[in-house]
């Protein structure tokens, strides 16, 4: 398993990094995609990974750190096997997001921003995911789940391995 404390991309991944860098007029444009690649590989973005990625871009670690801390999708601490991100913006709020969030907190036993003790789920509250027609809704890993009721939430959370 790739070690976030001692990060190295494989040769194949480094080739992908170079390919991505070549798509942009300035290779720095590939920083966000490469950070996504790093997060997919190592599970989250450690400081060591930031410094390592910096070397691939001739960027000081401080400037990589700026990018990682600016965007909400880069996790700076290990996250759960699943990320459950419940929208708490206006349309979802109007359609009962508050109850959905309370239910998730009680069911999972964590506050938003925390990960369950068994490492299964990280619960987040997030801003508009632009699926308001399905409000209240949440993002579970890669997919959107909408028209939520507490029952539907139970089924979804129960189905997470």
């Amino acid at each position: 398993m790739a070690d976030p404390k001692n990060p190295r991309f494989t040769d194949q991944q480094l080739a992908e990094v170079r390919r991505l860098q070549g798509l942009y007029p300035d290779k720095r444009g590939a920083l966000l995609p490469v950070l996504h690649l790093a997060q997919d590989t190592f599970g989250y973005i450690s400081l060591e990974i930031e410094a390592y990625v910096g070397t691939l871009f001739d960027l000081s670690p401080a400037h990589v750190h700026e990018v990682v801390t600016f965007y909400t999708m880069y996790f700076q601490q290990p996250k759960g096997r699943h990320v459950v991100a419940v929208c708490h913006n206006l349309s979802c709020h109007l359609m009962g997001a508050k109850d959905i969030i309370e239910h998730c907190k009680t069911t999972l036993g964590v506050e938003p921003g925390e990960t369950t003790a068994d490492g299964k789920v990280t619960l987040l509250t997030v801003e508009c995911l632009c699926a308001c027609e399905q409000a209240p809704m949440m993002q579970v890993d890669d997919r959107y789940e909408g028209l939520l009721t507490t029952d539907k939430v139970d089924r979804i959370l129960g189905g997470l391995a």
């Binding site: 942009y24 966000l32 950070l35 700026e66 990018v67 965007y71 999708m73 206006l90 359609m95 027609e133």
Partner: protein, 416 residues
Amino acid sequence: MAEKILSKNFDSRDAHTLAGYRQTGGYRGWDKAKGMEPAAITEEVKKSNLRGLGGAGFPTGVKWGFIPKGSTAPKYLVVNADEGEPGTFKDRYILERDPHALIEGMLIAARAIDSRLGFVYIRGEYVQPWRIFGAAVKEAYDAGLLGASVPGGGFDIVIHRGAGAYICGEETGLISSLEGKKGWPKVKPPFPAVKGAFGQPTIVNNVETLVCLQHIITRGGEWFAGLGTKTQGGTRLYSVSGHVARPGVIEAPVSVTLRQLIYEHCGGIRGGRRLKAVVPGGSSAAILTPDEIDIPMDVDGPKSKGSMIGSAGVIVMDDTVSIPDALMVVARFYAHESCGQCTPCRESTGWIYKMTHRIVEGKGRKEDLDNILDVAKRGAGTTICAFYDGAVGPYISYIEKFREEFEALIRSGAHA
């Protein structure tokens, strides 16, 4: 029922594939455009009165014309697929259900502005749309619709995923993010058409705006203009959500009124309740009261009531809603999404959220309302980008139009 133009493929099972797309008449707009002079394409778009459909509503043909004439610099077409305006979801529909329509629109626009390289900036959370659009791009490459064989020197598309920041929907914030930096909007001048992504002339267009192009080319700019109002042509996709019976994406000519959208297209207020307030153009638009909804939903209609059409994200609130509570949610959003670059926005979005939060927690003070209003008015127009003005819209309109409700909450000391 008006003809479906932009949304005609939304309910199809396979229009997201090249074969399915072609069957519905796809790429005929590009077939015609690739034989046109770039200037002729721009002329047609100017005639169509097409306005940017991402939020700013700027005339598209005029925007293209800002690229310096005779410039030999590489020009970039950047697609703003960083849909993030609360209440808006129509671009997601296009990416998932009609991705080739975006590719076709990009080819037409690229020809008009002499671009060989297009970037599609998709918000990071849109994973399924990214995969579907990516598959469509691959199909297009395999069919020779993209790449070196595109007439005029070839055209490539680079798909770039965001990583979670609403401010990357602002065109220069998007450009900064595309360049591998924080999504900090850029001071203007220089404007993107002169010096944009990677220092080169750049046009940033919204997804839906580009999807309009094939229809303008095949059926004419005048036809498109005729569908709409005096200042804006065509139909557009309205995202309607909140307390309506049937939320969803509604296509209608831009002359449609807000009342028609709510009551005719979306089944009126759910559960037999009454309308209390409605946001016409995404959360950045000033709120409207029930007596203000007989306006056309074009670039001028909501403006006549002190609001804006923005991204056409319609959020409907019934009489169960606490407006102070709604404002707190919106204020929380702006405080969270402020990029932090310039002082008025960075400092006051956080402070104003604290005040709205105190109000809904029953700890409001009587001077809070005037403080919020005064601070918002002092900050409006002083910032690097329009994000803060988008925050000011709700700050001021929610309080001014529902002041009594705020004051009662502050007096009572109850939770909202």
